[in-house]
């Protein structure tokens, strides 16, 4: 190491410069590549106003396809916003009102009214969005979906 000679030193210098140049290119690439990922508008809370509490019947499911969720009103009056994105491979689930299940058209996973898996291949319950109830109105925060393994009563919002 002490005496590698001038030519070898220059060679290694070139190699090192080459690696640095490559790394710079990679950084530039990743900058461009991820630039689009930042939303152009400010990413403040996105709230969807679903309607008045009294608009929603007990024990039924209301599609809000534009908002990416189904609003579920349980038989005890509680509200849940269940994501329509299947946890298996991301297809949009459909509500089957006769069987009272969410069904995924891609791989036939099905979920019950609160989003729990009834039949696989889906690995976990459907995601939820936070439901906020104020002044008799139901609002859903669709900024980010919440992952969960299974249904728990804490996921239900009451008026």
């Amino acid at each position: 190491m002490a005496n590698i000679g001038r030519r070898n030193f220059v060679k290694r210098l070139w190699a090192a410069l080459g690696i640095i140049a490559g790394a710079e290119l990679l950084i530039a690439f990743s900058g461009f590549f991820s630039a689009k990922r930042k939303p152009l508008t400010s990413d403040s809370q996105k709230l969807v106003e679903a309607g008045k509490v009294s608009d929603f019947q007990m024990n039924s499911v209301f599609p809000f396809r534009s908002g990416k969720f189904f609003l579920v009103r349980l038989s005890d009056g509680g509200f849940m916003a269940v994501s329509l994105k299947c946890t298996h491979l991301g297809c949009s689930v459909i509500w089957n009102d006769e069987k009272k299940t969410f069904v995924c058209p891609c791989h036939a996973s099905s979920f019950d009214q609160v989003g729990q898996v009834i039949s696989p291949p889906a690995p976990r319950a459907l995601d939820t969005y936070p439901v906020i109830i104020g002044e008799g109105k139901v609002m859903v925060d669709i900024t980010k979906s919440v992952r969960r393994k299974q249904f728990e009563s804490s996921q239900v919002t009451y008026a």
């Binding site: 590549f33 689009k36 990922r37 990416k68 297809c91 459909i94 069904v103 058209p105 891609c106 791989h107």
Partner: protein, 427 residues
């Protein structure tokens, strides 16, 4: 004088690719089936048609679909050019895959072709990725959901999966960032990478003194012009004619405009991923998507490094290898559909083992069964035929490839609504 110069520079170009003389055995059609050359022609076709399509295509969710409609309906020969691009893309994936199988079975994977074997697999993967990134661009229901389903498979890669998904999609869902990413890869990064790898690939073929042939076949040599060139020209023109005829008769599909809220039923991945999607119905994604492909490709890279006495250029290594390969092909042809049927109607690990995590009941248990049956199969072969390790690998390779093809066929033609089994004419 002038004519002479033209023809000599033409000759110079040809002889850059080919040597002046080639072994007679290496240009027999059933030595290579002309697959490498066909792949090159198909790539060139896509390059030319792709450059044309770029003039009219707009890679934004708002305009992509309309620009495809515009190409199909308003531009002179627009639909025909898009059809050529579509069909040569499909043929490109198929021919590259067959080329890969041919090279393996003719055992052209050992030194000095070892590096080229690996470059070739890289090209195969790039060919599939090229097709896949192109799949999204029409932005119709077919492309949107195929890409949604296929990219979602990434989430099952441990640790890095979610991150990879968000990088590739440029967000949580398939959207404008995804379209721009795919467009850039499809029309820029992937073709450039492929051109570079192809140059390396061809140079390596030349360095290895052409196509791999058995040692006893090296004697007789013929001149490249006209013996090889005539064959290349014939096959090339025939392929070109075939693509043009198909493109004139059958349109590239274009369904309804993409609608993120409604998945079509069934929603299928692109056809070359249908084998994996089919596998996903039977085994935990981690094994279907990661472990099995990893075993397959690392095994194939490892093989020419581990085995020193390769029988380069001899089909199936030996007569025994050929026998085992044919046997393995029949075996997987029969057993794969049987397993699919059993899984569909009889075996339900997740129901029988409800308290155990799915990773075990749908992953480790079937995987262990699979590996055990591989082990038993190889054990029986070893006992009955006393094969070499190469012959065993050839049998195993056959099992993998034929099973994948069978799964792909089941996925494409036998899966209908809700991914249940149907007959092809019922779908």
């Amino acid at each position: 004088m002038k004519k002479d110069r033209v023809s000599s520079s033409y000759r110079g170009f040809i002889f850059h690719l080919h040597p002046p003389k080639v072994a007679a055995a290496s240009i027999k059609f059933n030595r290579t089936f002309g697959m490498g050359g066909m792949a090159l022609l198909l790539f060139t076709l896509q390059l030319i048609t792709g450059l044309l399509l770029r003039f009219a295509y707009v890679p934004t969710p708002a305009e992509a679909y309309d620009s495809i409609l515009f190409i199909d309906q308003e531009i002179l020969f627009g639909g025909f050019i898009r059809n050529i691009h579509y069909w040569s893309g499909i043929f490109f994936v198929i021919v590259t895959f067959l080329h890969f199988i041919r090279v393996f079975y003719s055992q052209a994977i050992f030194v000095p072709r070892r590096i080229n074997w690996i470059i070739g697999m890289g090209l195969l993967i790039l060919a599939i990725l090229s097709n896949f990134t192109g799949y999204l661009l029409p932005w119709d229901q077919l492309s949107y959901w195929a890409v949604t389903v296929a990219t979602n498979m990434l989430t099952y890669i441990p640790l890095a999966g979610e991150w990879m998904l968000s990088v590739i999609r440029g967000g949580d869902d398939v959207g404008s960032a995804t379209l721009l990413n795919f467009y850039n890869f499809h029309t820029g990064i992937l073709p450039i990478a492929m051109v570079l790898l192809m140059v390396w690939h061809f140079w390596k073929v030349r360095k290895a003194k052409g196509v791999a042939i058995a040692l006893n076949e090296e004697e007789e040599r013929v001149s490249t012009n006209p013996h090889l060139l005539l064959k290349e020209l014939t096959i090339g023109l025939m392929l070109l004619a075939l693509i043009f005829i198909i493109s004139a008769l059958f349109n590239a599909p274009l369904q309804e405009r993409a609608n993120p809220a409604f998945s079509p039923n069934p929603a299928k991945a692109p056809w070359y991923f249908m084998g994996i999607q089919e596998l996903l119905l039977h085994i935990h994604p981690f094994f279907a998507f990661i472990v099995l492909p990893l075993i397959f490709f690392t095994g194939l890279i490892w093989m020419p490094y581990a085995i020193k006495e390769g029988n380069q250029g001899t089909w199936f290594h030996s007569e025994k290898g050929k026998k085992l390969a044919i046997q393995a092909a029949w075996l997987s042809l029969l057993i794969t559909p049987l397993i699919v049927l059993l899984e569909e109607y009889v075996l339900h690990f997740e129901v029988w083992l409800p308290s155990i995590p799915k990773f075990v009941s749908e992953g480790l248990v079937p995987m262990a069964l699979l590996l055990t049956s591989f082990g038993i199969y190889l054990g029986i072969l070893k006992k009955r035929y006393k094969p070499t390790i190469t012959e065993l690998i050839i049998a195993l390779f056959t099992v993998f490839v034929v099973s994948y093809i069978v799964l792909t066929i089941i996925g494409i033609w036998f899966r209908g609504e809700s991914m249940k089994l149907f007959w092809p004419w019922q779908i």
